[in-house]
């Protein structure tokens, strides 16, 4: 069973007008194998995926399914022939039951279109049994946790007798425990001879679950090897080239940083408490330092930093900014005192998606551009161009609506807005979620540069690799309390994991 090529793409390419998004590429999905697909945004991963699922047709090349040519550009046909894709955002109907979602659009019917309920349920139960999965068929999908919803999506694909599963960022928003659960489900699928393509930014997962990996860069495949032959550093280097790779790794960190600033810390929190959220939290951030606040999902780190910023209330405790006690009643007050905040969900509360890059970049500093009752357009434009160059925002069109940028570039715009404020303290909440490795590296570089210029930086991050890469000091939070604060140079990842109380892997 394994070793059989289920899905093959031969010399697939895609050209839009004058630009070649995908150079002629071969790809193969083998039964019983999990193949990782990694690369920065713009590397051609998503184009390749769309061709394989039939969402778009290739400019040249062809697709073979079980050795037979498949007509390109027909998603329903690919589905019918056993190629299914599980997308990053949910394709379930939240208000319907698991049972309804699995068989959506395909329920067995009698005359007049009446659904054969008994048959439907029997089929579903057989499916669950066959794949060893356990789900409540009558539960409304909206009541399920994210990982279980992913399982429903997998079942939906399996109900179609999918032999090939393409998974796009399947672990976005999942906690560590959920990721493990998903991976064990994938193990089960692999054992049953399903071929899987696993697209992810999180290299740890790729190394954990994949058998082979395909690395793409600038529209071509640069490596296609069994995972055992590679290591993390090499993969990153393949993805973004040597220069950025160093930013992405921890080496750039140690040298530049001077000794921790003596004297009064930029930010001093003592015994911050809010009932039901955080309790007796004390931490310091010094000028010229990056402090990472890490912990499991649900440790209330976001609530804590929002309270510091004035976007959330707290019941007791003190906050001092350079020795001066402050209590911000609103973000506006915080900004006026030189505190910036890069939010967790850039779509919802960070960026104004329909406005242009320039408008977003100056959103926090509009006061500078006032000329009488109007805004000085020229100066705004100049600032925007300066920031776009400094942050390498692509495409460098300041009028472009931010909605049209990739995740990484959007995050850079958001960061640029706050950096231009030149705050004394910059707080970032999960700054690189949904950002590709190239942009991630650039963002790390920006944060380090800001730190070197004397800014105090407080980063909330659940990505332990990231924490180890950029933090000067690390604070671990569990269930609303800070349990340990460490110097990075004295810490290993296992220490952090132990602190968080999770079972070491």
């Amino acid at each position: 069973m394994s070793g059989l090529a289920l899905l093959e793409g031969r010399a697939l390419s895609k050209v839009y007008g004058l630009s070649t998004v995908l150079h002629p590429t071969d790809v193969v999905v083998v039964a019983g194998e999990v193949r990782g697909l990694v690369g920065s945004n713009g590397a051609g991963k998503s184009t390749l995926m769309k061709i394989l699922t039939g969402a778009i047709a290739p400019t040249s090349g062809h697709i073979l399914i079980n050795g037979e040519i498949a007509s390109p550009g027909r998603p329903l046909e690919m589905l019918r022939r056993g190629v299914a894709c599980i997308y990053q955002h949910s394709n379930l109907v939240a208000e319907m039951s698991v049972l309804d979602n699995i068989y959506i659009g395909r329920q067995p019917t009698r005359r007049l279109g009446l659904i054969q309920r008994k048959l439907l349920r029997e089929q579903a139960q057989a499916l669950l049994a066959r794949h060893g999965m356990d789900l409540d068929l009558d539960a409304h999908v909206s009541t399920l946790s994210t990982v279980r919803q992913k399982e429903v999506e997998i079942l939906k694909a399996l109900a179609l007798d999918a032999r090939v599963l393409l998974m796009d960022e399947p672990t976005a928003w999942l906690s560590v425990a959920d990721v493990a659960r998903l991976h064990s489900t994938i193990d089960g699928l692999r054992a049953r001879g399903v071929g899987i393509i696993y697209v992810s930014h999180v290299l740890d997962e790729v190394f954990a679950i994949c058998d082979t990996v395909t690395v793409m860069r600038d529209g071509s495949v640069v490596a296609d090897q069994p995972i055992a032959q590679l290591d993390r550093a090499r993969v990153i280097e393949l993805m973004v080239g040597k220069t950025l790779a160093t930013q992405a790794l921890g080496e750039a960190n140690g040298a530049a940083r001077s000794a921790p600033a003596a004297g009064v810390p930029r930010l001093r929190c003592r015994a911050l408490s809010k009932r039901g959220e955080f309790h007796e939290v004390s931490l310091d951030v010094h000028a010229g330092e990056i402090l990472c606040l890490t912990g499991l999902v649900g440790s209330k780190r976001s609530e804590l930093v929002q309270a510091i910023f004035g976007a959330n209330r707290f019941d007791s405790g003190t906050i001092e900014l350079e020795g001066v006690p402050v209590k911000f009643h609103s973000p506006r007050a915080a900004i006026a005192s030189g505190v910036g905040f890069v939010t967790e969900d850039r779509h919802r509360d960070g960026l104004m998606l329909d406005l242009s890059i320039a408008e977003n970049l100056v959103a926090a500093t509009l006061g500078r551009y006032r000329r009488g009752l109007l805004l000085a357009g020229e100066r705004i434009r100049a600032t925007a161009l300066r920031l776009i160059t400094a942050l390498n925002i692509q495409p460098p069109d300041f009028m472009k609506p931010v909605r049209l940028l990739s995740g990484g570039n959007q995050q850079k715009v958001l960061l640029g807005k706050w950096l231009d404020l030149q705050p004394r303290l910059l707080i970032l909440d999960e700054p690189t979620v949904g950002v590709d490795i190239g942009a991630k590296a650039e963002i790390y570089g920006l944060l380090r540069a800001a730190r070197d210029n004397g800014m105090a930086v407080l980063v909330v991050s659940s990505d332990l690799e990231e924490v180890m890469t950029i933090a000067d000091r690390i604070a671990v939070m569990v269930a609303g309390r800070v349990v340990r604060t460490r110097e990075t140079c004295e810490t290993k990842i296992v220490d952090l994991v132990r602190d968080m109380g999770a079972v070491s892997a």
């Binding site: 109907v93 279109g113 659904i115």
Partner: protein, 336 residues
Amino acid sequence: MIRRHGISALPIFFLVTFAFFCAVVPRFATAGNLEALMAGYAFIAIVAMGESFAILLRGVDLSVGAVMALAGMVAFDASLILHLPGYLSVALALVVATFAGVLNGLLIVFLRLQPFIATLATLAAYRGIVFAISGRQLVPGLSTTALDDPWIIGLETYFDVGATLGVESIAVPAIPLSFLLMIVLLVLFEVLLRSTRFGRDFYATGGNPEAARLAGIDLRRTVLIGYALSGFCAGVAALLLVARLTTSTEALGNGMELTAIAAAVIGGVRLNGGMGSMWGPVVGTFLLGVVLMGLTLFGISQFVQQILTGAVLLAAIAHSRWLQSRRLLPSAPEGS
């Protein structure tokens, strides 16, 4: 893990309100009043069911009142100007109403207009057409002529259930035909939505159109059928109302769209689409009816009545939100 919807409090609330008015307001629990309630609100419930189809699809149909006027005027003209036999007039009116609904669907599906905009435009257009074809203005004297075709007038009949069943001791309200028709449509629509594949597709289209599309569901067909049903229901309601009035006016159904939407929302139909039933709007309509009739008989001023109607609506929405929040656990994100 909570399995199903929390049981909606709506039927209980309805019964409690009904009981309250029966106890407190004199002459509320009389056969005559119950007949008036059924006759006065059955056709509104039918419009509410039709409106629910549109809302379930994440849309709205603002033109239902105008379609009612259109269907009513078509029946009027057909009977009194063209002198068509009654069954033809009725059929013609229903066809026109359904087609008006299909037109809404076409604007939404093919011109990609937002349902609010599309039905707002057709609302104006249909009202304009009603004035243009109004027999009452085209032929002088028709504005004082009553319809008398048995097929149309016959829609306003009452079935003396008490006499049939031989119940002598209490006065059993006579059931209006409009009420029975409403029940029939209610059953048909509920079966359609709950037990057929089309019904499941319908909920999917409203709940998550992208997921539905990827699952191979024909979104266009679903939307067209939904709005066609909305138009059809408006047509049926129009005929029932015309029978009751023995005439049709240009302003027929004015404001009906708001009542229908209110009844649907009270009945638990979610404005974002994908969740709701058919019996909800029906109960919602009669709840409104009970409250309004009860308050009128109680002597409460109509302006206060409007305030109370608004309060009922708010309570229904709050209840619906509360039900949703009880079930809410972290759900899948919407794209990166």
